[in-house]
């Protein structure tokens, strides 16, 4: 994919509006990118929660401008404690996604910008945070792109060859952990069930050689296997070879997010191109 700036994306950059809205723990800062006035309008606004909003290599910035040039409104914003947003800096915790921040963004966009339907996109912790918004705003969300995030309460034991010598105590802890059945995060399960009950589409993207793939396999066994056929049709899974939970892997993941989100554009669905072809294999970095 060509990520270089074009006249169309530069035009969207010129139209961007910095904004601030109230979050549960203080002010949240973001950038709203209005859709190109000469493009056929999409009905949903894309939301990228971020840590920070510009992300690595500015991929959310570029994605927002590319999609806006094609008719989508887009918001990228700093989750609490990151970038310009208020709140204490904390390490992201798999137990505590920040769905309330995404809900605040949705409600702000609804009230201040007249947006009615939303598409969410997240990578890693930002993906579980986006999914977490389904608890409160499922009816307003048309789709979620969910890339390579943790879904279990604890990391499953990884392959031993992780380069670090492991102590006997560490090995013992791993053995005890292995003896317990892996438990899906409550936050993930509750949000996932809300997603399943909704009418939203979803794409869950993982890669075979990432450790998180093992976690997601549990979700497939425990949650996806119990979906009815209608929900199973809506909630897609793509498992790529190689790895995407890497610094370099983000390019391919965000590229896939863009191609998947494009499917929600009315012009795209009317032309019969409802399903995008799968992206090339992500290279292992």
């Amino acid at each position: 994919m060509n990520w270089r700036e074009t006249p169309a994306t530069l035009s969207r950059a010129r139209a961007e509006q910095p904004l601030v809205f109230k979050g549960p723990k203080g002010a949240l800062h973001g950038i709203f990118t209005p859709p190109a006035p000469d493009a056929s309008l999409a009905s949903a606004c894309v939301v990228f929660p971020g840590r920070p909003r510009s992300g690595l290599r500015r991929l959310p910035v570029l994605a927002a401008r590319i999609l806006a040039a094609e008719g989508f409104a887009a918001l990228r914003f700093d989750l609490r404690g990151r970038g310009e947003s208020a709140g204490e800096v904390e390490m992201p915790s798999r137990q505590e996604p920040r769905g309330e921040d995404v809900v605040a963004a949705i409600r702000y966009l609804r009230e201040a910008h007249g947006q009615k339907q939303f598409l969410l996109a997240g990578y890693c912790f930002d993906a579980v945070t986006a999914l977490d918004a389904f608890r409160d705003e499922a009816d307003a969300i048309s789709g979620i792109f969910f890339a390579t995030a943790a879904v279990l309460e604890e990391k499953p034991d990884g392959p031993p060859a992780d380069g670090l010598a492991r102590s006997a105590a560490s090995r013992l802890r791993s053995m005890v952990r292995r003896a317990r059945a892996p438990k899906i995060l409550d936050s993930f399960e509750i949000s996932f069930r809300a997603l399943a009950r909704s009418h939203a589409r979803a794409l869950f993207l993982y890669a075979e050689q990432d450790r998180l793939r093992a976690e997601f396999r549990v979700a497939e066994e425990v949650l996806f296997s119990k979906l009815d056929s209608e929900a199973r049709e809506r909630l897609e899974i793509e498992i790529w070879p190689g790895r995407i939970h890497t610094i370099e892997g983000q390019f391919a993941a965000i590229e896939r997010a863009i191609s998947w989100l494009r499917e929600f554009h009315p012009a795209r669905s009317q032309s019969g191109a409802w399903r995008e072809p799968r992206q090339p294999i992500a290279q292992e970095s």
Binding site: E5, A13, P18, S54, G83, A161
Partner: protein
């Protein structure tokens, strides 16, 4: 003349908008304080590493504004929320953005004097921008990069350390990375890319050289866990003192176990105290 004993906290307002530099919109955030005659504090954090978060400057700008000094931070071309392509960035372009940011910030807040805060690579950029704009009255250097050439090599070395930390053999040596950069025009270095255009345009940038004409008060802030000034920072301090400059050096270690860039409150307050003393 400024009061040496300002009120504990002053009111300020925040304003975010895009401004033009070399035909493209750049993102800027103004923290406008009302202290009469005060200089504006301009954060210059100009290159990929450290730029992606920008949180240290955002927190520091609020603290400094609460001390009565307007502060401005911006994203240079191809960084953060600004427009531009990384492939096209040159060192001269970053300096041009810094100069345009300074002019814009002064216009917006009505201040005539500027105190620059050069953050990491931004220290090199600020040092090159100062001679091109009037009325700089102070320069704070936050963990400054002293030499662009060394900075690029260290960035490449970090890739090797990262691979080794994962138990892997480094895929390329620094020399091999340099060769690949020349040959292919780009290499990836942990979360950002080095482009040949930029490296070739910046590699001769040297902080002490650029500060030859500088004679104003200078603050060196070290963001490291060490309890004393590093050898490099000490050499910088001594060189500037030999030129007759008034130099203050402060250590910002941050809380134990935490990255000092995540907790800039202490250094922001010390920078504010230093600004009070300049008055």
């Amino acid at each position: 003349m400024l009061s040496r004993h300002p009120p504990e906290k002053q009111k300020w307002t925040e304003e975010r908008r895009y401004f033009e530099s070399d035909g493209r919109p750049l993102y800027g955030a103004m923290y406008r304080a009302e202290r009469p005659g005060a200089p504006i504090v301009l954060f210059c954090n100009s290159f990929s590493e450290n730029h992606c978060e920008g949180r240290a400057e955002a927190i520091a700008a609020r603290i400094i504004a609460a001390s009565g000094y307007s502060a401005f931070l911006y994203h240079p071309r191809a960084h953060g929320d600004s427009a531009g392509d990384p492939e096209d960035v040159t060192f001269e372009g970053l300096v041009e953005d810094a100069v345009n940011a300074a002019s814009y910030a002064r216009r917006r807040c009505g201040a005539s004097q500027i105190v620059w805060v050069g953050v990491r690579f931004g220290a090199l950029v600020a040092a090159h921008a100062i001679p091109r704009i009037t009325d700089t009255t102070g320069l704070a250097l936050w963990e400054p990069v002293l030499s662009a050439r060394d900075y690029f090599r260290k960035s490449m070395r970090h890739v090797m350390y990262y691979e080794m930390s994962k138990g892997e053999r480094p895929s390329l040596t620094v020399d091999q990375m340099s060769e690949r950069l020349k040959r292919e025009g780009k290499i990836s270095v942990l979360g950002f890319d080095l482009h040949r255009n930029f490296v070739e345009s910046a590699q001769d940038a040297d902080l002490l050289d650029a500060l030859q004409p500088w004679r104003g008060p200078t603050l060196i802030a070290q963001f490291q866990k060490h309890s004393r000034l590093s050898r490099e920072h000490n050499q910088l301090r001594e060189a500037l003192v030999r030129r007759g400059l008034g130099v203050r050096a402060v250590l910002h270690r941050g809380p134990a176990g935490a990255d000092s860039w995540w907790t800039p409150e202490g250094i922001a307050k010390q920078t504010g105290d230093w600004l009070d003393e300049l008055a």
